[in-house]
């Protein structure tokens, strides 16, 4: 990747245009006929570029980016699987992309929603899904609203607290807060699982439910889940399933069978739609039978991210009932293979079979010696960039100080994984030899490590002409 320094504003020149529009009628009134009190006085400071200028600029920008099509993303809890290209073609079909959201009686559209509802219900063991949520966190919020609606419909207004394990994704407590719920944290035990004994005293009649991620963010299956479900249900609470980690269970385990009442899925994780540099996603929410009446919670403008739903549906049809069974298993195979191949060089805090991901707690030998700081998890992550790999998720979960969270998906080959293992071993060897090689990484990327402190202290958040 090369460094390209321009912003679109800096290649702007008055008089250039990048648009091709019909002529304005010169004999008719235009926007100048709008009362002056309602008009802006100055044109907005937008760039003026020709079409080829714009194309070259954004192509240059793209070349400073890393994507799934560029290389391997061992990014924990993000499920960076291959994004099939047929899905893009289908989402772009004018007969779908040209539909106005208020159009009714569209049989082709209804079939997509119905087909997805049925397929996701089959895969998860839920009864029905709503497709309005636009992302995972949005789905969490929707699911929690459904839980609150359920309790309120029974006249049970005091259930305003929700239990969240200390290993949960940050969105869990944040979604709970936005939903007006107080968060009660339940600790993990030495095996990295929710401590059932810690949970029991928390279960009183103010508990709306519990949010669980299973496998949890350590990649470990919460094997006491059925007992936890019974305890929570007996106490009158409901179980929320955070679908961010659903990938290893696809084709093998269904949240509904574990006792979960409501869940979200990230179509941009488990169902192969592109992450798009941070969105758009889609976070459909599924519920068990008794919660179906509350599925209508209104959380977004129209019908959810239909374009994303279309892509996911195309993926499911390709997968079919034959291939679905291999999806989670191959992801789990890849994760365990990496874990077993690196645990002699990286600290594995909990020795256990993992699911789609696992967490190391930094290097076993970080190279620290007299007058020299050891290589940190951040250093390892940055050094990986030099070798053409994306970094793993780092410093999460918060249970370990040097967390390195690795998730390969089922679309990565053994050769890719072997290459990654080799590089991770080489980085460990470098750290042991001279941690400074890691401290100064990355060396081959378009930029070196940026000054994030200054960025936050003196924020420059938009372009201003020099």
């Amino acid at each position: 990747m090369k460094y390209y320094d321009k912003l679109i504003f800096e290649i702007s020149k008055p008089g250039r245009k990048g648009y091709s529009l019909p002529d304005v009628c010169t004999k008719c009134q235009g926007t100048d006929a709008i009362p002056a009190a309602l008009r802006r006085d100055k044109a907005p400071a937008l760039p003026q570029v020709s079409e080829p200028d714009a194309v070259r600029h954004y192509t240059n920008l793209s070349q400073m980016n890393f994507g799934v099509d560029t290389g391997f993303y061992p990014l924990g809890s993000c499920t960076m699987k291959y994004n099939p290209k047929i899905n893009e073609e289908i989402a772009a079909m004018p007969a779908f992309a040209g539909l106005h959201p208020c159009q009714k009686g569209l049989k082709g559209v209804d079939a997509v929603y119905e087909g997805m509802d049925r397929a996701l219900s089959a895969i998860t063991g839920m009864k029905h899904f709503t497709f309005k949520p636009c992302a995972g966190a949005h789905g969490e919020l929707t699911g929690l609203m459904i839980i609150r609606e359920y309790h309120m419909s029974r006249g049970d207004y005091k259930r305003t607290r929700i239990i969240v394990p200390d290993s949960a994704h940050g969105t869990n407590p944040a979604s709970a807060a936005v939903c007006g719920l107080d968060v009660v944290v339940v600790k993990s035990n030495a095996q990295g699982l929710v401590d059932v004994e810690e949970l029991k005293p928390l279960l009183d009649d103010t508990i709306a439910g519990i949010m669980m991620t299973n496998p949890n963010t350590l990649g470990l299956f919460e094997k006491d889940i059925r007992q936890i479900a019974s305890l929570v249900h007996e106490a009158g609470g409901l179980l929320y399933y955070d679908g961010a980690n659903m990938n290893p269970l696809i084709g093998t385990v269904r949240p509904g069978d574990m006792g979960f009442d409501v869940m979200h899925l990230n179509l941009h994780k488990s169902f192969s739609t592109p992450h798009g540099g941070g969105g758009p996603g889609s976070g459909p929410v599924g519920v068990c039978e008794k919660l179906v009446p509350f599925l209508g919670v209104n959380v977004s403008g129209f019908n959810g991210n239909f374009g994303v739903i279309l892509r996911a549906y195309a993926y499911i049809l390709m997968l079919g009932r034959e291939n679905v069974k291999m999806c989670g298993k191959l992801a789990t195979l890849n994760a365990n293979y990496i874990k077993e191949s690196l645990k002699d060089l990286y600290k594995l805090p909990i020795e256990s079979v993992c699911k789609h991901e696992f967490v190391f707690d930094g290097l076993i030998n970080d190279g620290a010696c007299e007058g020299k700081e050891g290589a940190s998890t951040l250093d390892v992550a940055k050094r990986l960039l030099d070798f053409g790999y994306h970094a793993p998720t780092i410093y999460f979960p918060l249970l370990f100080h040097q967390a390195i969270m690795i998730e390969p998906t089922e679309t990565e080959s053994k050769e890719t994984i072997d290459g990654f293992i080799e590089v991770m071993r080489e980085i460990a060897a470098e750290a042991a030899r001279d941690p400074d090689i890691l401290h100064s990484a990355p060396h081959t990327t378009p930029i070196s490590r940026p000054d994030e402190t200054t960025a936050a202290r003196n924020p420059i958040l938009k372009y201003t002409e020099a």
Binding site: L7, G18, R40, A97, A111, G170, D257, L333, K462
Partner: protein, 441 residues
């Protein structure tokens, strides 16, 4: 041959990987899962399709949807999308990238978000924009939360009766669970009533108000004095806008609003049955650290070169958990790129031209519809841009049916019994004449 084109593993690969792990089978990797959690049944899914079958299947579904020329707005506008946009946004390096947390290999995403933020500031006149939200309605709901957080002890937000119903709907949902009181500012002559606003402020507890720049009747509202009335009571103003129209209309900043939100869809994003779109959210500098969502900032790398990073992250859920300004994690990054490329191509002159074209076509349609004798003016003399409502003299359903039969979609009915129409630069005079002719029959 068995196998699946998205899964690279050969049987041999699987076996040698299992060997290294030290287990005998893939099933053994699930030995920690209690037996009663393992699904033993057959998944109720269709048989796997080939790629060609998938394509045929969707082409079949597509054929079931009538292809209508869109003369409707109501929050989703059929503007022209230049070919460059899908071409660039489909580049693998953009579309298959993750959130730009690893800034050294994400400068492409970070730079276009920085450009996006700059363009949103240029259109709204505000100081700071975030990296985008899910859609316009959720951005409005976040603005409501932000105003209440800023007000500390006040808990009521006023919402204009002239806002689009889907915007008010989502605001009400978020308000309900957050325990925020929503009061409606009445409409007068199809516009937000300033008297009603002042009366509600006088009742006390008002943290802020949300009013539209162009409202659900298509009327360009005069927001004179609203910010002042709110500010006098230490309350804030949020203006909900169509960012395309902001290229010619008075900006939220000129109305002295504190927050500007809306949907970026009119900036070249296809209708796509309602999504993905992109919400935008911008505010005055003093509220910068209260903004929800991601924000990109400029800094330098170790060699002193200009570099871009996600910044002010102490507001966000992955750092602050339940104390974050919002639970939002992602943004609609790729859709922000659509908007950025669109605005780059259009520039200030193209945006003016688009608005002039919309204005002329919509006003032509307005006059022609009145000539049919089947409508009366609803708000005579009220200024509009590309969308308007009329009072139908025949049932709305009948109008809609005639339009559909002639290949058009429009005449959406409002709760008051008006019908709304919209004409963008994509609608030709010939199409307008055909639509009018279909109605006259």
């Amino acid at each position: 041959m068995a196998g699946f084109n998205y899964f690279p593993h050969t049987d041999q690969d699987i076996q040698s990987m299992l060997n290294r792990i030290g287990v005998n089978s893939l099933d053994q990797l699930y030995a920690d899962v209690p037996a009663d959690c393992l699904y033993q049944g057959q998944y109720d899914l269709p048989e796997a399709m080939t790629e060609q079958q998938v394509r045929d299947y969707f082409e079949g579904l597509a054929a079931l949807n009538p292809r209508l020329k869109v003369f409707a707005g109501a929050g989703a506008y059929d503007h022209y999308t230049p070919a460059v946009i899908p071409y660039l946004t489909q580049r693998s390096e953009f579309i298959t990238a993750y959130t730009p947390y690893q800034c050294e290999i994400s400068q492409g995403t970070l730079r276009y978000i920085f450009e996006y933020q700059s363009m949103i500031c240029a259109l709204t006149g505000m100081d700071v924009s975030n990296a985008s939200m899910y859609d316009g309605p959720t951005a409005a709901a976040e603005a409501m939360r932000m105003m209440v957080a800023q007000a500390k002890k006040k808990n009521t937000v006023l919402v204009s009766a002239t806002l689009l119903p889907q915007v008010t709907g989502v605001i009400q949902t978020y308000a309900k669970y957050a325990g925020i009181t929503i009061k409606e500012i009445e409409a007068s002559q199809g516009q937000t009533s300033k008297d009603s606003l002042e009366a509600l402020i006088a009742q006390g507890d008002v943290a802020g108000a949300i009013v539209p720049s162009i409202n659900r009747f298509g009327i360009i509202e005069n927001l004179e004095g609203m910010a002042q009335a709110l500010h006098a009571d230490k309350a804030l103003l949020t203006v909900y806008c169509d960012p395309s129209a902001l290229a010619v209309l008075k900006t939220p900043a000129q109305w002295e609003s504190d927050i500007a939100v809306g949907d970026g869809q009119p900036l070249g994003i296809p209708l796509c049955y309602g999504g993905p779109y992109v919400g935008f959210m911008a505010c005055r500098e003093e509220y910068m650290r209260k903004l929800p969502g991601r924000i990109v900032g400029q800094t330098t790398d170790k060699e002193g070169r200009r570099a871009f990073v996600l910044t002010l992250q102490a507001r966000e859920q992955h750092i602050r958990r339940e104390k974050a300004t919002s639970n939002i994690c992602s943004n609609e990054s790729l859709m922000a790129l659509w908007v950025t490329v669109y605005l780059s191509l259009m520039g200030p002159d193209g945006m003016k031209q688009v608005n002039d074209l919309c204005y002329q076509r919509a006003h032509y349609l307005y006059a022609k519809l009145l000539e049919t004798g089947k409508f009366q003016e609803a708000f005579a003399g009220a200024p509009f841009l590309k969308e308007f409502v009329l009072k139908p003299l025949v049932p709305a359903a009948q109008i809609q049916k005639k339009l559909a039969d002639a290949g058009f979609f429009g005449a959406l009915e409002t709760p008051e019994g008006y019908v709304s129409f919209c004409a963008t630069e994509k609608r030709s005079y010939q199409e307008i004449d055909e639509l009018v002719k279909a109605l006259a029959l």
